[in-house]
Point group: C2
Chain length 266, copies 2
């Protein structure tokens, strides 16, 4: 297995404490260029899996690519990703959700403060927050292109009750999120724990907990901020299909434990 | 004259090269607390000089306070501000515009890329970019509360032609600015010069050139980012009242050279 990736005990501690961890340059320039080309194809394909920035035809993101495109089906089994997901979740894992967020230069819009687990629990019937996301930086992430912004340690408070904004699952993809954390709660959390916006070069991977509150500002720079987000879930935490409401491209139904490939290209 | 402020030749060079300069803690905690209290009174007063965030009743800013409130009339003559404005503009100066931007916690919205001089030239009949702004930080400015973001050296290209968005002067106060720089031009400028978002503690002063392109992202933090902005203009560069269209609280008509007070409170 070439380039197998594993975290040190210190890295695992850091992840457990803060709720996130950056590994720089997990993928090299050529690999990222290849991922970007595959992502561009997905954006261009259109259809219900592709969402746009409100009131425009500018792509905001695309979901479920691992189910339909071989390259992404292989990516989620990469030896650079899968063993780390297994380490952090301490179990075999499968992919619950896959998306690519475009955050286009000058066009990518704000994401309100939210926890991912709220969506997975309410919409998909995920029983516990035993899931996490690997965000692969398709572009360098800087302070100017709308980095993900976290409350370090905010995952420890668990899922926060939220109001429900709108009905049905379509609102889970809207810019005005169906479940966002109210500002009084965010104020208290941030006054206690502060904020952090991890940055890094292309090809870095940002791991983050299902329950960490996060948001991002618009991209006012001329540089895209593409993120490829793979959500791994513990197989012991499979979703309850009787409670789930969303289509498979938003909440996958194949709970078979993934096995790592020897390399992305083999 | 207590606390008179003056720039070193190195600071003046830095300002000429980059188009901006930060002086940290020009005003102390008590002074900033006092300025904030005066600002809060202006916000609460309502009327045409107060603008709100689009579709809300949340204050975005207030203009012309130096004309109506003694405290702000004195502030623009502060020995910590006026001598620096005179140094940088190399002339006697008067105040062309005065505003306080609220950039409220969780609420303050984006400002598009623009140059201030475009507004002063087209709307107010200012003949040349011999003006600058002193931005007093009423709150600490961080990467999270929507700092002003500049293209260092971008002032050297002079005023950029822009499309005109809407009619009349009301659009000069709208969130969708009447004169914003197109993204192709911004892309070229930023690819050449980069971006910078100066930060600093409360009471710092950020000086910036009439022609420097700038923008700011929304404030997603629980911390307000109040800025008090005083635009000084060279008396030799007085506006052409025959060409100006805006009311006095947006484009002042008293061109008498200002004289420094001995202190803000004396």
């Amino acid at each position: 297995m070439d380039n197998a990736n594993a975290l040190s005990p210190q890295q695992i501690d850091e992840y457990r404490t803060t709720g996130y961890l950056v590994q720089e340059r997990v993928f090299d320039e050529d690999e990222v260029t290849w991922l970007q080309a595959e992502a561009a194809r997905e954006f261009a394909a259109g259809g219900e899996r592709v969402t746009v920035e409100e009131g425009t035809d500018i792509v905001r993101g695309v979901h479920g690519c691992h189910l339909y495109t071989e390259a992404f089906g292989r990516l989620v089994r990469s030896p650079r990703l899968l063993p780390v997901a297994e380490q952090l979740l301490d179990d075999d894992v499968y992919v619950h959700q896959f998306k690519i967020n475009a955050k286009r230069a000058f066009k990518g819009e704000v994401w309100e403060w939210h926890q991912d687990y709220t969506f997975w629990h309410h919409e998909d019937g995920m029983p516990a927050p035993r899931a996490l996301t690997a965000a692969i930086f398709l572009d360098e992430v800087t302070e100017f292109n709308g980095p993900l912004t976290f409350v370090p340690g905010g995952h420890d408070d668990g899922m926060i009750d939220t109001e429900v904004n709108g009905e049905g699952w379509a609102g889970t993809l809207a810019a005005s999120l169906k479940y966002s954390v109210d500002i009084d709660t965010m104020r208290k959390l941030i006054e206690r724990n502060g904020m952090a916006a991890p940055k890094g070069p292309r090809g870095s991977v940002l791991w983050f907990d299902a329950n960490i509150p996060h948001s991002s500002v618009p991209n006012i720079s001329p540089f895209d901020r593409g993120l490829l987000l793979i959500t791994y879930n513990s197989v012991a935490n499979r979703i309850d299909l009787a409670r789930g409401t969303r289509p498979e491209w938003l909440a996958a139904r194949d709970f078979t434990p993934l096995t790592a490939l020897h390399s992305m290209s083999s």
